[in-house]
Amino acid sequence: MTAWIDFARGPLFRLCFALMVLGLLRIVINTLLGVKEAYQRNPDKVVSWKEILRQTLGWLIPVGRLWKQRPIYSAISFLFHVGMIITPIFLASHILLWRNAVGFGWPALPLRVANWLALLVISTGAGIFLGRALHPGARKLSKFQDYLWPLLIMTPFVTGYIASNAVISPRTYQEMMLVHIYSGDLILLMIPFTKLAHCVLAPLSQLVTGIAWKFPAGAGDRVAETLGFADRPTWVPQARLATEPVMAEMAKKGEIRK
């Protein structure tokens, strides 16, 4: 079993971690390229960057926003995220592993605090699961994986907590560590391919939405042409109104698409 554990926290971890980093880089770059392309397609360059930034920061630190809708669920979700991010990164034994492999480390949380944070993640994870299962609206929306994720994320926290706190036989300890490390690796690996990718994508949402509301000029006509509706009795104005000569003139100069 020791060999399995060593494999999981050695080569397998490195592979999963590398895939996670590369996968996340790929989707972030793709998103930014998409945003750039959309921005270039639109002739109007007025984008309310300030508003986008304000909303983005507002959701990154959502303390002021949580209380408006479903406050309990929102608070639970917030604490869950905080614990889930801080605990594994600042756990002394994780840092030690990292230092042994890579050669540098960073300050760790006191073990007592880390323990409390683990308990926080476990309890709020259960809360998130129940919040989804018990809310009739959320239940209707949810898919299988939506229930799976909180449970899967809780797994390394539960096993890690038991392994480092409970008085258990060495064999049970090893079993706990086995589950702990493999589930941790699995989560890292899955991040770029699932909705967990929101860890890097959510901060880009406001930007994406802001740019997506910027429409390319002439797109409607091109859509109709592509669909073969160019000759349908449609919305294209015909020369009946006082504006027509002017519009024709503008089209000739290329100021509008005719």
Binding site: T31, P43, R70, I211, V223, W235
Partner: protein, 503 residues
């Protein structure tokens, strides 16, 4: 000032539900169109609908910017249902299908299944047949139950804009022929009809109306207030929802009075005088062509700025999409009359009598003004200077509640019971609780919807525009001799038509 959202949680009674969702459509029409929706749809090709839907979807993805948003949304959507509480429609129905995220998921799932590699592979493995006719029916029903008010956008931790998806869903549907007849018929008249506006008001009728309004003002205020028509080189060219010329005389009189008091040069063009743009509600091509007509008219008259009347969606399309379609950086500046009046008041160019309005006044934020934060405080500042008893409703400003007729639904007369029992339900309660005599709603859509809402829900509150009240309170300087001459002349003609303008 307690929020209605928290205290009103009584779901619809069964008889209310039945009334709201009753369909007046004939069975045979529903059968032949295979479309069990409450709104009327012009006849269209029903064969092979899923394939044509996907073709339209693909074509739109190819030529527009929606793809970047869809790609993003399918990755981040976490289906937490937090948006449910933000939606006034869900609040009334408590139907999970009315949760904004559920609505969006209808389209996102089609995108995932047919336009992503993983979706196509997954379907191969699981044998998923793909888009069905039933799903299109559900889309057509669901996307016109939503009023596209964008309130849920603020409550999505993942930043998904459900109104953008509603907009796209309606666009795709319209390309296979599914769009409310009320909107399509008006748009056709506006873009290829003889009158060139959504209410089919011919130019002579417009001129008559304007003359009548000028005479009215002369009677009431003793001052000659013209509605300048086809003046070349004016500072402002004025566009308002064309229905205002039939329904909102007081608003127009208020606007003309303000323009008279400031002395700024403005004009209405007879070539095109409709600000309504239903394209925002169902089709990007329509939106572009309507805006180009506006641009053409502004160019014809060599106007320097575009002044938008009291109309939310028209102002939003002009403000945010006019530069897109009509010249980018070089597009003319777009100003709302609400901004204009507030600025004029601040500069002391108009005077309002604070003694005239003694009733309780409240303000309804039209979504298309307030949601983006564009116009929230301006009208309030104006109202507070001359309304002694001004009260706020809650929630307000950027997180206001929709009147219930947004997204073009107000123009669909056959769904009035839905609008006044479901989508406008919280709004009615909200207005009732302010106890106001006047509710100021500076938007043609909101005005129509709120009046129907007050009537159907039995709330005693008069719905007015901002300039209706301004008209009551404005102090106009007496006519100069030259104006008096104009007044005399205007006994017959207060507006002069340039040659050929009324053809």
């Amino acid at each position: 000032m307690t929020s209605v959202m928290k205290s009103l949680t009584r779901p619809l009674a069964p008889e209310e539900r039945e009334r709201a969702f009753a369909s007046k459509k004939k069975e045979e029409v529903i059968k032949s169109q295979r479309l069990p929706v409450r709104y009327h749809v012009e006849d269209f090709d029903v064969e092979d609908r899923p394939r044509r839907f996907l073709e339209a979807f693909a074509s739109i993805l190819k030529h527009t910017n929606y793809r970047v948003a869809l790609d993003h949304y399918i990755r981040v959507t976490s289906r937490c249902a937090r948006c449910a509480v933000a939606c006034p429609i869900y609040d009334a129905t408590h139907d999970p299908r009315d949760i904004p995220c559920y609505r969006s998921e209808l389209l996102l799932s089609i995108y995932r299944r047919h336009f992503t590699v993983s979706g196509i592979l997954r379907a191969r493995v699981l044998g998923d047949p793909g888009l069905t006719d039933e799903k299109i029916q559900e889309l057509a029903d669901s996307y016109y139950n939503c009023t596209a008010c964008r309130r849920c956008h603020f409550d999505c931790p993942m930043g998904i804009d459900h109104a953008l998806i509603t907009h796209l869903g309606r666009y795709i549907l319209s390309e296979i022929g599914i769009a409310p007849r009320a909107l399509v018929v008006s748009t056709r008249e506006q873009l290829i009809g003889a009158t060139g506006n959504t209410s089919a008001i011919p130019v002579p009728a417009l001129i008559d109306t304007l003359e009548f309004l000028t005479e009215d003002i002369l009677d009431e205020k003793g001052v000659h207030v013209p509605f300048p028509v086809d003046q070349e080189g004016a500072e402002y060219i004025f566009f308002t929802a064309v229905s205002d010329y039939m329904m909102e005389a007081e608003t127009l009189k208020g606007i003309a009075a303000v323009m008279k008091a400031t002395g700024d040069n403005w004009t209405i063009g007879t070539g095109y005088y409709d600000a309504i743009n239903y394209g925002l509600f169902y089709n990007d091509q329509v939106m572009e062509h309507a805006l180009q007509k506006m641009q053409a008219e502004a160019k014809r008259l060599k106007a320097k700025k575009i002044l938008m009347g009291e109309c939310g969606h028209a102002s939003r399309t002009a403000k945010y999409f006019y530069p897109t379609y009509c010249g980018g950086k070089d597009a003319l500046p777009v100003i709302s009359i609400l901004e204009y009046t507030r600025q004029a008041l601040k500069e002391g160019r108009i005077k309002l009598d604070p003694k005239v309005i003694s009733e309780t006044v409240t303000y309804h934020d039209p979504c298309n003004f307030a949601r983006s934060g564009w116009i929230v405080n301006q009208p309030r500042e104006v109202l507070k200077t001359f309304c002694r008893d001004y009260v706020e409703m809650a929630p307000n400003g950027r997180s206001n509640l929709c009147c219930g007729g947004g997204g073009g639904t107000v123009s669909i007369d056959e769904i009035r019971p839905y609008r006044t029992t479901v989508s406008g339900r919280l709004k009615a309660e909200q207005i009732r609780r302010t106890g106001a005599n006047y509710c100021v709603a500076p938007c043609a859509n909101c005005k129509k919807q709120l009046r129907e809402l007050m009537e159907d829900q039995g709330v005693q509150c008069e719905i007015v525009g901002l300039h209706d009240l301004i008209y009551k309170a404005i102090i106009l300087p007496p006519d100069l001799p030259s104006d008096e001459e104009a007044t005399k002349r205007s006994a017959g003609h207060s507006v002069s038509l340039p040659e050929g303008g009324a053809s």
